[in-house]
């Protein structure tokens, strides 16, 4: 079973297409693994084994008659529980939406269904994609599969845990201030926040309209690119959706990094906010690997991390408060304490302050993207620390803001989180590869080259 648990999506696709592996057998194996281990990890808020087996049987019949739909056909996947799947509750991990049944699929769910994927269930999230980890909610928070006493990152917590734990090869998350890349880093998997507007947000419960992104978490860069191929694309009914050419994200994977210009935003994790020594060392070692592979590396400067963070949080809390104002007025007690406090910081932001934050945003975005006239990709930290203990409220509060992910929600730039090693305590470490808008294929190319040159993929958490 362990072999099936850690098949990549690409490997599974080849076996399934060649009829060397049955989608039903594969799905049953993962369902059994989830049943055995997820009680300790809480990756799933709502597993759907019946739906999964139905999808698997359908896929098996289609593949048998030669109707192969593509790399997700017969492959299990999961959705963060802010993503609508028709007929199932979308709870956002909150008492407030406990009975909220989705009437239609989110666009991303439609696409994965059409691709023949096997839907395994709804995955744990921080409440409304912001408040967590919380123990005062109807469902428990997800835990880190590398050490269950530790935080797994969020808000796409279940998505990170499920992929790292071998429950799924692929999951969908969302990212408003880092929520795909945080669990990707904490769980040692790959997470892509693409260019703003690349993936439709329709049918995904919003946190902040102008900062929300939807994207995949997977165990390998290739799998992530395969998933982005499936979910990217213009949606005329999503006001933020961009009508740009998409797809082909695996095309450049094998091109290597020789001659690419890498800019390291070192001040984000040194001068602006000093990162944990092990995290910093791992990122620097990763940068050296890219240099050894033939990239030219130099340090670059952008606005201070604190400016990006202030801009992100002003916009996020204002937009989120507007969405939640009615519930905060009527039933504030039904939020988890952490969520309530985070949303309430948007209560008294003046209109002029919000507008000014968007004006600063425009400048930051212009100035950051101007850097790409002299570089091809940027590298920086994702988290400043390995995952802290999940029961240490002080550490969780302290490390919440210690990250360098929010800048790229502000600028809308694509940013790929990849693993770069493990701490002495055995917790994953990670970095981000960042590009100019629509440079996802280039980020995958760099991430894949790094992945091939290192052995982090070969390690898996011991779940027993």
């Amino acid at each position: 079973m362990t072999d099936l648990a850690y098949l990549t999506m690409a490997e599974a696709a080849e076996l399934l297409r060649g009829r060397k592996l049955s989608p039903v057998e594969y799905t049953r194996a993962l369902i059994a693994r989830i049943e055995r281990h997820d009680g300790k990890l809480n990756a799933f808020l709502r597993p759907t084994p019946e739906i999964a087996l139905e999808d698997a049987r359908r896929a098996e019949a289609e593949i048998a008659r030669g109707d192969w739909r593509g790399p997700l056909h017969g492959v299990p996947y999961g959705l963060k529980d802010i993503v609508d799947y028709a007929g199932l509750p979308t709870t956002a991990h909150s008492k407030i939406l406990e009975g909220n049944v989705a009437r239609a699929d989110a666009v991303v769910a439609q696409k994965l269904r059409a691709a023949g994927g096997v839907f395994m269930g709804k995955l744990s999230t921080h409440e409304f994609a912001t408040g967590g980890p919380c123990f005062d909610l109807p469902w428990p928070p997800a835990r880190n599969p590398w050490n269950r006493e530790h935080f797994c990152g969020g808000s796409s917590s279940g998505s990170g845990v499920a992929t790292a734990a071998g429950f799924l090869p692929a999951a969908i998350g969302s990212d408003t201030g880092g929520s795909i890349r945080n669990p990707a880093t904490m769980c040692g998997v790959v997470g892509m926040k693409g260019t703003y507007g690349l993936v439709s947000r329709r049918g995904v419960f919003p946190l902040a309209y102008s900062l929300d992104h939807v994207g995949p978490l997977t165990r390998t860069v290739r799998d992530n690119a395969l998933m982005l191929d499936l979910i990217a694309g213009y949606d005329v009914l999503d006001p933020g959706s961009v009508n740009a050419a998409v797809g082909g994200y695996t095309a450049d994977l094998e091109r290597g990094v020789r001659g690419l210009r890498v800019g390291v935003i070192r001040h984000f994790y040194t001068r602006d906010m000093e990162g944990d020594a092990e995290m910093v060392a791992a990122i620097e070692a990763a940068v050296k690997v890219l240099g050894d592979l033939g990239a030219t590396v130099r340090e670059i400067e952008t606005a201070p991390l604190g400016v990006y963070a202030a801009c992100n949080r002003t916009l996020l809390t204002s937009e989120a408060y507007a969405i939640h104002e009615k519930w905060l007025r009527e039933r504030p007690q039904d939020y988890a304490s952490v969520t309530r406090e985070r949303f309430m910081s948007g209560a008294f932001v003046r209109a002029a302050d919000y507008i000014n934050a968007t004006r600063v945003r425009a400048r930051l975005t212009h100035d950051f993207h101007a850097l790409f006239s002299d570089i091809d990709v940027a590298i920086t930290a994702s988290a400043h620390d390995p995952a802290c203990r999940i029961d240490d409220a002080e550490a969780l509060d302290r490390t919440y803001g210690r990250q360098a992910r929010a800048p790229f929600n502000v600028t809308g730039s694509p940013a790929l989180a990849v693993p770069v090693g493990f701490s002495k305590a055995g917790l994953p470490l990670g970095m981000q590869i960042v590009g100019k808008p629509y440079a996802e294929a280039l980020l995958y190319r760099v991430g894949h080259a790094y992945e091939r040159a290192t052995q982090w993929l070969e390690r898996h958490p011991a779940l027993a």
Binding site: R329, I355, R359, V360
Partner: protein, 63 residues
């Protein structure tokens, strides 16, 4: 907003904003949250914005 915002001030602002179901614990959270928001505001470089600096979200009609 001044940094020395008090619990009583926040209580009044909450009532004005329709947040009338907050317990004392919630109000303490709102006070902390408001102070955090003020600190964020102070960290934004708005002093040198000019009228030509337009918002990032500009209303635009598709053709």
């Amino acid at each position: 907003m001044k940094n020395e915002i008090t619990l009583e001030a926040v209580r009044g602002m909450a009532i004005d904003a329709g947040l009338t179901h907050l317990t004392d614990e919630h109000l303490q959270q709102l006070l902390r949250a408001t102070r955090t928001a003020q600190a964020r505001q102070a960290a934004l470089p708005t002093a040198d914005l000019t009228p030509a600096d337009e918002p990032a979200h500009v209303f635009r009609l598709d053709r």
